[in-house]
Symmetry: C2
Subunit: 210 residues, 2 copies
């Protein structure tokens, strides 16, 4: 998959904790029907087997809708399900190692500074996840990135930039106005009662901006 | 590395929680000097980057002493450091998937029943870790395996069997008497004040049995 063909506009990052009794795979399907263009499966406290089983189920959905599936952090899971990509944070596998072990796949890197963004690009990242642009309850340890810093990063790199952190329908347009390629959301879709509708509303706002 | 050349007699599984202020890599070096023949690096609550950094340091030691390094659970780490093997539990990557992604390497499987042992062998495991033979504080969720069951498993498979779970210098010989190929220890080495001496004493007891 070439990164040029990837639509980063509405990038869903999963968090099962937000779903209550709702099933993750069903929720992802609704989000895709609503307009999500990319799915990142993120699991932090499950066994490897459980993560793998979830990833297999999610891949069935993303494949059916021709949406790329990115695995957060865990290259073993990404390899085991032949995911479309891997997303690494600054405490995960280093970019160069990820590329070596997962060639010809999308590799995204989390960056919260210009230096991290430039290094990731230099090391061959396919895209950057930059944030947190707003406070977020789903990742309380995230470093804050202002919209000015986000704009500076976007202007300083040639690879796609996706903003993350507390983005929702009320602040989405000011984030998009920085010129970035997409927004990454968690709660703004998964914590909503009507997931399909929430995704649809966000995608409509994005289309207005582009 | 062919499994026929592996000496499973004194198999160290790491647990940094037992070391207090002592350095893991230094402790492993002492354990190897004392007679440990195989090292499994097991980390359950660190970032991927930290696990990788530890694994790189441990591999320098194990390589220098020509001791195989096995990574617990995490194929991504095993691949990233080109470890000699991977050990998977029943909640980890399935054996067949592990073999597919990590060919020509040692793959060990934890088994606590004869059925699990036979399945792992059938699926191509290089060795089995069977336990817990005694109660253990380092893995409180472990299923109990009696010495009779251990002996039955050893007699029913052709691949090497290593016993694990609460094994120490006082019960080692009754475990070895079941005919197994080695013992896997954690506390009996890493929780001891003199790691080198503890490993040496265990290796001497093992040699008496063989």
């Amino acid at each position: 998959m070439s990164e040029n063909k990837v639509d980063y506009s509405l990038y869903l990052v999963t968090d099962r904790g937000l779903l209550g009794e709702r099933d993750l795979v069903d929720s992802i399907e609704l989000a895709i029907q609503g307009g999500v263009t990319l799915v990142q499966l993120r699991e932090k406290s499950v066994s490897t087997l459980k993560f793998l089983q979830l990833a297999i189920r999610v891949k069935e959905i993303t494949s059916r809708f021709h949406i790329p599936l990115i695995i957060n952090d865990r290259l073993d899971i990404a390899l085991a399900v032949d995911a479309d990509g891997l997303h690494v944070g600054q405490d995960d596998l280093p970019m160069l190692k990820a590329r070596e072990l997962f060639p010809n796949k999308l590799i995204g890197v989390s960056a919260s500074t210009l230096a991290e963004a430039l290094l990731a690009q230099e090391q061959g990242a396919d895209y950057l996840g930059v944030g947190a642009v707003f406070s977020t309850a789903t990742k309380t340890d995230a470093t804050k990135v202002s919209l000015d810093q986000l704009e500076l990063i976007k202007k300083s790199v040639t690879i796609p930039v996706v903003a993350i952190g507390g983005i929702n329908s009320t602040n989405l347009q000011q984030v998009m106005a920085t010129g970035i390629d997409g927004v990454s959301v968690v709660s703004a879709i998964l914590a909503q009662e009507n997931i399909l509708k929430a995704a649809k509303q966000l995608q409509e706002l994005i289309k207005e901006e582009f």
